[in-house]
Every structure is written in C-alpha cells, then in structure tokens.
Subunit: 140 residues, 2 copies
C-alpha cells in the first residue's frame, strides 16, 4: 500500500536510525540477536557519521556513530545517550516532497536535498514539526 | 525479503512508536504532513496508553500517549520529552522469538508475551540489550 504527499508517492518507512557509541559492537549485537544482514557500510562526511544499514526481515535499521563529538549525532549522544535518532520515509520525488511539506507548514532543516547514503538525496524535517521526532525524507 | 531469528520468521519492522503529549494534535500533524491514514485507535490499559496506528505509505507509525503520569510512557515523557519511543519487529511466533532472544543473551522485559494492540501478543526487549533502543516483538 503506497501513500502520498500530495502528488508525491510516499513508499513507506525506509529505515529507523539508531545513534550508537560503538558501531562495531552495535552491529554485532543486531547480527547476534536478529540474524541481521549488513546491506551497506558507508561514511558520510557531510553528516559526520559512519553508518551501517542492516536488514531485519524486510525492514531496515540504520546504525550511526559520529566521526567527531561536534557533529549532530555527537551532540545527540552527549545530550541524550544512545537510542533512536530518526525515522526515514522513502518518496519517489524528494524535491517535490520538500516543497509539499514546506507548503504544509513543516519546518525543514534542509530546504534543498543533500547527499545521503547509497547515492540517494535526502532532506530532514525538524523535530519541532513532528512532536519531537527527527524525520528524514529519502529520494528513490 | 524475510529474515529469521533461528527457526522464527522475522517479517520486518511492524511499527515505529512515538511518545506524544497530545495524541489528537500529533495525529492531526501526521495526517496533515504525510496524508497518513488512521488504521487503529485503541486503549491498552495494561501498558497505560492510548495508541493510534497510522499508515505512512506501506509503513506504520504508532503514536502513544500515557493514561497517567506514573506509567512507562508517562515517565518516558517526563524524563526525555516527546520523541521516538520504541521500534517493533513482527515475527510469526512470538513465544519462539522470546525464547530464542533470551537464549542469545537478550534481556527480556517480558519473559512471557502479553496483550498488545489489535489482539496481538507482544514482548519487549530491554534497551540495555540493544544499544539503548527499546524493542517490541509483535506476534503474527
């Protein structure tokens, strides 16, 4: 069942992202408990993270750890500790989604999409617009 | 692509749960921004929450608000504020999954499944076992 944001197709939840201190240890834990398979390991310099996509059934968990303390994920860990960091929704048209969400009153962190993992373009919605939840919009 | 936990089939991410202060306001926000459809509205007295399942594309977001301050979600909100609360994984055999996860060293909050939403049986895994993330296992 696909959804929409106006004329944009909303595929569904692309991943759930968890901020961790020790990426290798967290990957090992998810592999041990859930037989999770590594789909992608990638450094994103712009976001200041090392990231791993894990397949958990047909779902996807992203584990992220910061490259430096003075990065968004580094500050998140210092303030809140390890835990759930953001939820990502996949759309067929990230530019269209950014425009539509902004027109509906969402406070966008990114007015223009920027490079995400796996060559996709992404944009983040500010938690203040979503009851405290950071959301990522991932292009197809 | 289905996964496994030993002999248990792991379907994937069943939902991502968000703890909110004002359930109606949060539902309205997700409906406005993401054209989300309400799939279920239910009170779970045992967990002390009012809950709404929203379909966001083929994904599912659960919004939960506490019935009382002295409930797990009430204490979560007092301590951390609104935000992501837990991630739920769907399996075909929740009893088998609980046994398998415990045998793999996971600290289970529920040694036996208990009633969840929509008549399903569920069990929670302690965040200490999952890098700070509370996980719910949802039976088929």
């Amino acid at each position: 069942m696909e959804g929409t944001i106006g004329a944009v197709q909303l595929v569904g939840v692309h991943h759930v992202a968890l901020a961790v201190e020790d990426l290798d240890a967290a990957v090992a834990t998810y592999r041990t408990l859930f037989d999770a398979e590594i789909e992608l390991e990638e450094r994103n310099e712009e976001q200041g993270v090392d990231a791993v996509y894990l397949r958990v059934g047909d779902g996807r968990v992203e584990l992220v750890s910061p490259l430096e303390e003075d990065t968004p994920v580094g500050r998140f860990l210092a303030k809140r500790g390890e835990g759930m960091h953001h939820v990502a929704f996949e759309v067929d048209d990230v530019d269209g989604a950014v425009g539509e969400l902004a027109s509906r009153g969402a406070q966008m962190i990114d007015d223009e999409p920027r490079p995400g993992l796996a060559g996709k373009r992404v944009a983040f919605v500010h938690p203040e617009s979503l009851s405290g939840v950071l959301a990522e919009i991932v292009g197809a």
